[in-house]
């Protein structure tokens, strides 16, 4: 699981994503380089989640395209709120959902797979939780559980939507260590985040987005004061009478 992997990246070519006709992501071009660790930041409603869903193949581009570099097995960590946390399922079975790309609907899980699930639970600090129901976990524990599922899934590109929301300091430190491990193993990680101090500290690259890409590059430059101000103004400039966009698709 820790072997160096063939690098996989994602390239955006003039990508526009819309809800109805309203652009959520507007003419964005750039590259998540293979093995990069990128934070996606921006105000609420800036299109961060939409971008992540498009990268995962869940949102069809209105124009432009997303191209994969190399063999890209992509894993998505959805926002915690998107989950039915009352669903009657045991922790081990959630972790083993990460085996879906390999096992599909019908192939059986081997003893080794079960051990991997147990190791993953232990790695996120949930050792001994195998039979516990998901409904009995706190938000932070649930997030740890979803990280265990990502560990089992063993993807080349990891898309994390607000992985440290509603999570205490100890948990986010533990989970951050896993993100660093993934980066060290040569995986490509893209994370939507709100904590800019954390981004500045831990993430080499940053995409600041407010529908348009405000800045995309080394974190230090992307998070400049001028860029932060521009992002906020873009997000607040919202008009129902907006004209049709004539930029080349």
């Amino acid at each position: 699981m820790n072997a160096r992997r063939s690098p996989a990246g994602l390239v955006l070519e003039n990508l526009t994503l819309t809800h109805g006709r309203r652009p959520a992501v507007h003419h964005v071009s750039g590259r998540f380089a293979p093995g990069s660790l990128t934070a996606v930041v921006g105000p609420n409603g800036a299109g961060k989640t939409t971008l992540l869903r498009a990268l995962a193949g869940l949102h069809k581009p209105d124009s432009g395209r997303i191209a994969a570099e190399g063999t890209a097995r992509i894993a998505l960590l959805p926002q915690l709120a998107a989950l039915d946390r009352g669903f009657p399922i045991a922790c081990r079975d959630v972790v083993m959902q990460g085996l879906w790309p390999r096992l599909g609907a019908f192939r059986g899980a081997s003893t080794e797979d079960r051990h991997r699930a147990e190791h993953a639970l232990a790695a996120v600090g949930l050792g001994g939780f195998e039979r516990r129901a998901v409904g009995s976990l706190s938000a932070g524990q649930t997030q740890r559980l979803l990280f265990a599922r990502l560990l089992v899934q063993d993807a080349d590109i990891l898309l994390l939507d607000e992985p440290f929301n509603a999570v205490d300091a100890k948990t986010s430190a533990d989970l951050l260590r896993l993100v660093r491990d993934w980066h060290g193993q040569g995986r490509t990680v893209v994370a939507v985040l709100h904590d800019l101090d954390l981004v500045a500290r831990e993430f080499p690259d940053t995409l600041m987005i407010a529908r348009d890409a405000i800045a995309w590059g080394p974190t230090e430059q992307a998070l400049s004061a001028a860029n932060r101000l521009r992002a906020r103004m873009m997000a607040e400039a919202w008009s129902d009478e907006a004209e049709h966009c004539h930029r080349a698709a």
Partner: protein, 289 residues
């Protein structure tokens, strides 16, 4: 004891057929019910059953109480309501539960009116609405067994995608689990099971064997698979006891089976180990850590 439990089945072929049919139904329908409960769609099956009524009524007008005609009419009408409600609510921006409610009220009214207009007396109406063990002829029995078999085979393949889709739809979609396609197959299975139930249970009660055991099962298991087993167990018991009750007390089979399943539900709510009322009263000391 023998007279009470065995003799009716030994004596009457139609009771044996009804029992076998209901047992077949008990193996498949409650499992679908468990997923309906988990997806917060408990009312959907009920709406589908009501929606099937006009089709059943048209079948009755054209061919009398013949199983294939009733069944085919119901299938067409049920699928129309299922697909139509989704499409209509999307097209009009309305809420699907409201559209479903409107459709099934109209369907119920139209169904009863059609049967009366076609010269169906109170006995025919009662047969169609509440079921009649005499209605389970060989054709109906084959149908019920066939639907149960098909359901179990499809569920075996759909189990993981359905669980994945219920629990975490984004992850399911990103992992390529095709939750949407399985959801459609699932809905088709619900319609098939409701219709296979209505010969014995009637259109109004067809959903009873699907939903009541599933709702009761929540109190007996903490995981989906356990709930499915509990629901099937409750349904099997309710079928047997309900048919005996129907025979001895001379009430229609549908209400009899539903009442027994309802009793099982009441017991589950009171005494079930998961969120039951009594276990909560007998408070145990909390653990030290």
């Amino acid at each position: 004891m023998h007279d009470l439990l065995i003799a009716p089945f030994a004596e009457f072929g139609f009771l044996r057929r009804a029992l076998v049919g209901c047992l077949a139904l008990s193996v498949s329908a409650p499992v679908l019910g468990v997923f309906l409960v988990l997806r917060r769609m408990s009312l959907t099956a009920d709406v589908l059953a009501h929606g099937a009524l006009p089709g059943v009524a048209v079948g009755f007008l054209l061919a009398g109480l013949s199983a294939p005609a009733l069944w085919f009419g119901g299938l067409v009408a049920g699928l129309l309501v299922a697909v139509g409600a989704g499409a209509l609510s999307r097209a009009t921006g309305g809420r699907e539960d409201a559209t479903l409610t409107a459709l099934y009220l109209v369907a119920l009214g139209a169904g009863v009116a059609l049967i009366s207009m076609g010269g169906g007396g109170a006995a025919d109406l009662s047969h169609i609405l509440f079921g009649n063990v005499l209605g389970v002829d060989d054709a109906a029995l084959l149908l019920m067994a066939g639907v149960a078999t098909l359901t179990l085979v499809v569920l075996a393949f759909a189990w993981r995608p359905l669980v994945l889709e219920c629990f975490d739809p984004s992850f399911a979609a990103a992992a390529g689990a095709r939750g949407g396609a399985w959801h459609l197959a699932f809905q088709a299975l619900v319609v098939l099971n409701v219709l296979s139930a209505f010969q014995a249970l009637g259109t109004l009660m067809a959903v009873g064997l699907m939903m009541l055991p599933a709702i009761a099962a929540r109190h007996w298991a903490a995981e989906v698979a356990g709930m499915a087993y509990a629901a099937v167990g409750i349904a099997l018991g309710s079928s047997l006891a309900g048919i005996l009750l129907s025979y001895h007390a001379d009430v229609p089979t549908g209400p009899a089976i539903v009442l027994v399943a309802g009793l099982a539900w009441a017991v589950s709510v009171l005494a079930g180990p998961v969120d039951g009322l009594l276990p909560r009263l007998l408070r145990r000391r909390h653990m030290a850590g």
